[in-house]
């Protein structure tokens, strides 16, 4: 099979599963490009208090003052004058699927979201272009004081709580795209889990781009109070367009004493999307946070979920999976910042490249002078499926305390013809054999996922693998 046919095979699958689009039926769309007027317009349309409007305008200045980063993937094709920064999908957000406009509901039906909600979610949210069109959490959780709303509803209905945390974990000046998000944020979730409340089933938000040349800037704040537990999952897909789209989210998480939280991303954007996301968790005493970050789609992803270990006993993990196919660059990894003594962290990164795709592991392990008796392990493995794909490793380590234990290992391997022959000799087709090697490579991560997601992940990988070996 020629390379061109292989690629076509993948495209066809993505088209059918995720790459479809609906006719544009937005209720409002700001003109293309970005300036003070558009930022003010977004704030105006959301009916925000003055402080937020000021915050946004200030953030726009910060965004303007920072250069486009050049230390990583090439972002030169991304031009803000060609992008719609705000596309409102519906007049209001639904609390039942019946409230969601028919064509939008059809999209989420096709993506299986209402069905998943019924089966195994404690709550679900759905964002379409710039805003959430649906948010709902099970009644018994609401009765326990759990808040699971769109970020706009969070600001509107819980302004004090919102204001206490917004921008504290990731300030606008953190990086250029965090500043951009701070200026034009729209959509995302606001979550609060009260002390001691353990939400056994995941909460999920699904992010969908429909319009071409759009920017999506979801902002999520999650507060897991003392001794509570939460697993939040986000999924993302989009139609394939010839023009660039931008997704630039900011996720701020606070995990208080003795709490546990896990944030899982299954990112499967179409490969005209630039995915530039900042995610950070502040983890307090004896609490733990895990990022499970799977990047399968997008043209360029730059994403390094981080954990700040603020008090003794805090534990953080980043499990990163990246899959780079033709024309894709996955610049992913993780950061662990040990601020307090007796803290532990683990970063495991697994990346797979094929058809000329590029993946990089970029990570930072930083141990502050006071963070003695901390422990950290960093493992990054890459698997190349052919000779013309590339993988790089950029592990930055800054240790300022002598009393720490740090482990680091990195491997690069290639799917061997011998492995394929061996598996095929047992009756597996070439594609099945390739998918099996890849699944095995990822197994240390997929086994961490709840059953439903590991099945979904395996299915996605099989889709990505179709016709890719040989």
């Amino acid at each position: 099979m020629s390379d061109a046919e292989q690629i076509q095979g993948i495209r066809e699958s993505y088209e059918e599963q995720y790459g479809f689009s609906d006719p544009d039926t937005y209720v409002f769309r700001a003109r293309k490009g970005l300036d003070e007027e558009i930022v003010a317009q977004i704030s105006e349309m959301k009916g925000e208090p003055q402080w937020m409007r000021d915050y946004r305008l200030k953030a726009l200045e910060i965004y303007r003052s920072k250069p486009v980063p050049t230390w990583g993937p090439d972002l030169s094709a991304l031009r803000e004058e060609d992008i719609y920064f705000f596309v409102r999908p519906a007049e209001k957000e639904g609390q039942s699927w019946d409230d969601v406009p028919e064509n939008i509901k059809r999209t989420f039906d096709r993506l299986g979201i209402p069905e998943a909600e019924q089966k195994f979610l404690a709550g679900a949210g759905a964002q379409y272009d710039s805003e959430m069109v649906y948010h709902r959490v099970r009644q018994e959780l609401e009765d326990q004081g759990v808040i699971f709303k769109s970020i706009e509803a969070g600001l509107r209905e819980h302004e004090d709580l919102f204001r206490e945390y917004f921008g504290t974990v990731i300030p606008a000046h953190d990086n250029k795209y965090a500043a951009l998000n701070a200026a034009v944020w729209s959509g995302g979730s606001f979550i609060y889990v009260p002390p001691g409340v353990k939400i056994e089933m995941p909460l999920q938000a699904y992010f969908r781009l429909n319009s071409a040349s759009i920017g999506q800037f979801e902002r999520t704040i999650i507060i897991v109070d003392e001794g509570a537990y939460l697993h939040y999952v986000e999924g993302c897909t989009a139609p394939t367009y010839t023009t660039e789209s931008l997704h630039s989210g900011v996720i701020e998480i606070i995990v208080k004493r003795g709490a546990r939280s896990r944030y899982t991303t299954i990112q499967n954007w179409s490969d005209n999307v630039y995915n530039l996301v900042t995610q950070r968790a502040m983890v307090y005493g004896d609490a733990s946070h895990e990022w499970v970050d799977a990047n399968l789609g997008s043209r360029v992803t730059m994403k390094y979920p981080s954990v700040y270990l603020m008090e003794p006993g805090a534990h953080g993990e980043v499990l990163s999976i990246a899959f780079a196919g033709r024309g894709q660059t996955q610049d992913a990894g993780g950061k662990a910042i040990h601020v307090a003594p007796h803290t532990t962290s683990q970063i495991i990164s697994k990346s797979i490249c094929k058809d000329g795709g590029r993946s990089s592991y970029r990570g930072l392990l930083k141990v502050h002078p006071d963070a003695d008796h901390s422990k950290s392990t960093v493992v990054c493995d890459a698997l190349l499926l052919d000779d013309h794909s590339e993988s790089d490793t950029y592990p930055y380590i800054e240790i300022e305390s002598p009393l720490v234990t740090v482990g680091h290992e990195a491997t690069v391997s290639k799917v061997g013809d011998d492995q394929l022959f061996y598996l095929m000799s047992r009756g597996l087709t070439e594609d099945e054999a390739g998918a099996m090697v890849v699944n095995g490579f990822l197994e240390p991560l997929t086994k961490e996922l709840p059953m439903e997601y590991s099945i979904e992940m395996n299915r996605l990988i099989r889709l990505q693998m179709e016709g890719s070996i040989g």
Partner: protein, 259 residues
């Protein structure tokens, strides 16, 4: 009468270098054949060629299995037709458990028969696997280990026998299954093969030692030298070889004026 594997005038080259030079051999279901020969005589080339390894180029000859032209089939299709090869050096597949692998192999067969097939139900699979493990005296904990990763030489060969037991081939080619095994491991592996053999299984045991043939008793013994089968006979041929080595055959070859 069962299926037959027929090798007719097979010539094979590797990287342009001729290795097999006209091999003829027929193995029927229910028969046990031994193929012996010194290192480099082409035994493993034959095994890999039968299974369709892409590095082996067939320059002449035919391979027929149950009336089907194997040369038209990919490796996986040959497997699903009922051909099996126990590898001399089984390959590690990190992250894939023995159980997961076996279930996928079974399901690949079922899907080939019926694209709508939903796969073997988990309880039925568990039962099948534990039965087969018991049959070859394998600890059940094996099922949860990653395939061939960190396995000892003996464990790898037993895992091959387990796969054979589960996949129930019609013809099995055992490529130097005895190499690198101590005598106890050899006995366990060979007994496993013994339990599997019967009227539905044809076996081609490839070896350069006679000792495995004390446990797997062949009806037919063939000797390969320099890419050809130069002598065939009954079990007594193996014993003769054990006593006299290969030199008498080489002399015989040279005597016929080939050199």
């Amino acid at each position: 009468m069962g299926a037959a594997l027929e090798i007719r005038n097979l010539h094979v080259s590797v990287e342009g270098q001729p290795i097999l030079r006209g091999v003829n051999l027929t193995v029927q279901q229910g028969e046990v054949h031994a193929l012996m020969g010194p290192n480099g005589s082409g035994k493993s080339t034959l095994a890999n060629t039968l299974m369709g390894h892409p590095a082996y180029e067939i320059t002449a000859g035919q391979l027929i299995f149950d009336g089907v032209d194997l040369l038209e089939l990919e490796t996986d299709e040959r497997s699903r037709l009922g051909l099996f090869m126990a590898f001399q050096y089984p390959v590690a597949i990190p992250g894939v458990t023995v159980a997961n692998f076996l279930r996928n192999a079974i399901n690949a067969r079922r899907r080939a028969e019926n694209p709508e097939d939903k796969g073997i139900p988990i309880p039925a699979f568990r039962k099948l696997m534990t039965e087969k493990m018991d049959m070859i005296q394998m600890d059940h904990s094996f099922a949860g280990r990653y395939l061939n990763e960190g396995f000892s030489g003996g464990e790898k060969k037993r895992a091959e026998i387990l796969q054979m037991a589960v996949l129930e081939p019609r013809i099995a080619v055992m490529d130097e299954t005895d190499s690198g095994l101590d005598i106890d491991a050899l006995r366990i592996v060979a007994e496993g093969v013994g339990r599997l053999s019967g009227p539905d299984l044809g076996v081609l045991v490839i070896t350069h030692y006679q000792r495995i043939l004390n446990y797997i008793q062949p009806q037919f013994v063939h000797i390969m030298l320099e890419g050809q089968i130069v002598e065939s006979g009954g079990p007594e041929l193996a014993l003769h070889l054990e006593e006299h080595g290969y030199d008498w055959l080489r002399e015989k070859q040279n005597g016929t004026g080939e050199a």
